[in-house]
Assembly symmetry: C2
Homo-oligomer: 119 residues x 2
């Protein structure tokens, strides 16, 4: 799609396996001061990781948030995981923003996608 600004939200593509997903599920605390700035910074920063493929996010108001990061290989994940600014953000997240979270890092074995035909 060339018209990014007008395009409806679309999920990250089903790439050809293998690739990796990092599934992050979280419930946040009441105090979210500084969260959105840090989150925006992380979204910028991860784009510089070689092998980063994209990110999906959904947030039920008042409920669970799910972020899925997509990476070409384990090296890309290792680079993102060891990024100093990312580590500092994670530490602050545990101290302030997250009530409860889980991370599941997984190697994709099968994928497919569906897009409705235009009509």
């Amino acid at each position: 799609m060339s018209d990014h600004s007008e395009a409806p939200v679309a999920p990250v593509a089903a790439y050809e396996p293998p690739y990796y997903v990092a599934v992050f599920t979280a419930v946040r605390t009441a105090d979210q001061s500084g969260y959105s700035e840090t989150n925006a910074r992380m979204e910028d920063l991860v784009k510089d990781v070689p092998g980063y493929l994209g990110m999906d996010h959904a947030q039920t108001p008042g409920g669970l948030g799910i972020t899925v990061g997509y990476f070409r290989d384990a090296d890309a994940l290792t680079e993102w995981r060891s990024n100093a600014e990312h580590r500092a953000a994670q530490k602050r997240g545990r101290a302030e923003w997250y009530q409860n979270y889980k991370l599941h890092v997984a190697k994709v074995e099968r994928s497919h996608g569906f897009t409705r035909a235009g009509r």
Copy 2:
């Protein structure tokens, strides 16, 4: 947690790997008639699959929905994938409810969780 009804929403646990995640990301159409009934039926039905571990869901209003299903092994996924009622629901989803979706089936290699200490 024993107080299900009072408990805040909590993400599915970080199990000991290996296990599988099925990450389903979707944008829905304007016509959602019948969706919620079918969705509730599928949530009931999947609980009967041996090796089913749980499901996380988040939905940004007007935006992306992400559902993550957790399964102990590939056999559990195969059973759910081949369930006749599930297949009929998927077919109806493509015909009516989904504008665009992706499915990523992946084997978890690493997981961890964080829960805030009570205070």
